[in-house]
Symmetry: C2
Subunit: 356 residues, 2 copies
């Protein structure tokens, strides 16, 4: 086990700030998840939502991949929809994914939504953050997270992620843009307050997940997604809590390739990149002012070890040894992944990225 | 009703060949479909697959949107999975989409697949093409189509489109690349033969749908998708049938933004463009040697008429008045679309794109 380090020494945090590193840090989206037998053992006893709501168990599964593979950062175990539930929306976890039986379809429903106080409505989240920080004891930093406003809106308005065209969300945006903007503004305030509470409780970086922003035309991306992600980032940076520590802010759009020049203006310290585009192309188009996180295709973890190592090398080479790269998958790890391949990936990143 | 025209006079065909046009032609992916009450009236009597297999009914629904809205091209009513069924794979159309109960998972299964003779195995398709040509009587050209090899492989290997990561397809590509390449090569031969039969029966243009190629990394797109789309295009162009008429070939990748430079090398006459990227950007990156088809966001059809007209204008302006633009949606029309908005789109394209 590594010695406890001061925040500024952590490899992951230095890479987020584009400072020099001995090697490229690595963590993995959904690293605490169904591909891990020890996670499934916990899940055999409790439902997904109970797990999110029980700080001791959330802490346990958050640490599992750190102990098992030696990732360079931990990420809070939770779900982006917890925030919508805290805003008063009923949330059902069923076969086929989460569902909101009373979706938001009009302005009156938007106006009725509160901006929740996280410590009041989601005490289990901030409690989990505190517990995880204590259990990590400085080994690696802890990342907090929230869904970005547009992505939260797709669930709030369509009621589920079943139809990936999100027709109800688009219909609201297009037929009642004022209601859509009111909803997105309220979600932005809620997100910022939520992330602020996570930082106050001890999160050392935060990631904003815009998982569905990639369904938008460039114009709609700017107007309905980027604008509100920026609003969250600006609100968070303006808060006394954030100003005390200045934790790195990561913004991730799955399917970011069409919007790179706009993406670069988000105000985040780090941009997450999915696997559909080479990091070299992204770097050339977003410039040097931001760190990049990504971007191995999650299905590359099905490759035999030698071929997987080559793919890891390609991702590292694509970014190059300049500052500001955090290795990650281009999206969450798939449940059918063999944990031993995850180990190959982590070990490959660590050995192949050593600076002379 | 317009007079019958010779092939070379049709607006749509001239635009495909980047020849001068009086105005921008328009057709719409899935224009014969569930948003249309007259289509639903036919479907009330027969199942989807029976409709595909009955030339008289396929002809009837193919013509419905031409009669109703005055589109500039008709597209054969069929399904990309018909070809897999002709290759001996069982196909079930159920709630939640089509399913292949015996997916391809190994080399022996690949080797057992035949390259089908379309006139023998799918006589209803070529018969439908002949009937539609006769019924259209030269009003507008008829487009034939097939799924591109990679997209067909995702259904053949994963067995359905339910998991959009297509983990089984990726696993086959990565753990048994020889089997994957053998499958894709066989699908390319089958596609080319199938499209050749449609052209022989009277199709005046063909479109290759690579609906799921957008899930690939740039390297895998080149190796597993583009390579086999090119193979289909090359095989088709080399056939005596194609050489007799030289019908335009359209290639459509949904989510093409990450691959534009590669996309431009497909050998197609026309590249389909989804709505996530501006046509101006695409034109700048693919050059002048190819026509572009697209790319209004299908959900823009939820907009009120005035706002919809503005979006139509933006798409037209984004390409500009240079040769080689066919107006289309960026993906298939959504079932919940109001047909009256389709009319607004068609009329807007026709009036706004008039050349002086």
């Amino acid at each position: 086990m590594a010695e406890a380090q001061s925040d500024s020494d952590h490899l992951f945090l230095r890479a987020c700030r584009r400072q020099p590193v001995e090697r490229t840090p690595i963590w993995m989206m959904r690293q605490a998840g169904r591909y891990l037998p020890q996670y499934m053992a916990v899940r055999a006893k409790v439902s997904f939502i109970e797990l999110c709501r029980t700080p001791e168990l959330a802490c346990e599964v958050t640490l599992q991949p750190i102990d098992e593979f030696g990732f360079d950062a931990a990420i809070l175990f939770s779900d982006i929809l917890i925030l919508l539930e805290a805003m008063g929306m009923e949330l059902v976890f069923a076969e086929g994914g989460p569902r909101m039986p009373q979706p938001i379809r009009d302005r009156a429903q938007v106006d009725a939504l509160p901006v929740p106080d996280p410590e009041q409505t989601m005490p289990f989240v901030t409690e989990a953050v505190r517990l995880i920080r204590k259990s990590l004891a400085g080994r690696v930093p802890l990342i907090g997270f929230a869904g970005a406003p547009f992505t939260l809106a797709t669930y709030a308005v369509d009621g589920s992620g079943a139809n990936k065209s999100f027709p109800h969300t688009k219909a609201l945006m297009f037929t009642d843009p004022e209601a859509a903007h009111a909803l997105l503004g309220k979600l932005a305030s809620s997100c910022a307050t939520y992330l602020e509470a996570q930082v106050a409780a001890g999160a050392q970086a935060v990631q904003l997940f815009d998982s569905w922003a990639g369904i938008l035309s460039p114009r709609d991306y700017r107007e309905f997604a980027l604008r509100y992600a920026k609003q969250v980032i600006d609100l968070l940076r303006a808060s006394p809590t954030w100003r005390a520590g200045g934790v790195p802010i990561i913004y991730f759009v799955n399917g970011c390739a069409p919007y790179l020049e706009d993406y670069a203006t988000s105000g985040a310290d780090v941009l997450g990149v999915d696997w559909r585009i080479d990091l070299a192309t992204v770097r050339a188009r977003v410039g040097e002012g931001v760190a990049l996180q990504g971007n191995l295709d999650p299905t590359c973890l099905f490759l035999p070890p030698d071929a997987l190592r080559e793919r890891v090398r390609e991702v590292l080479d694509s970014h190059g040894s300049g500052p500001g790269h955090i290795f990650n998958l281009g999206h969450g790890v798939l449940p059918m992944t063999d944990p031993e391949r995850v180990r190959v990936m982590v070990d490959s990143v660590k050995s192949l990225s050593q600076r002379g």
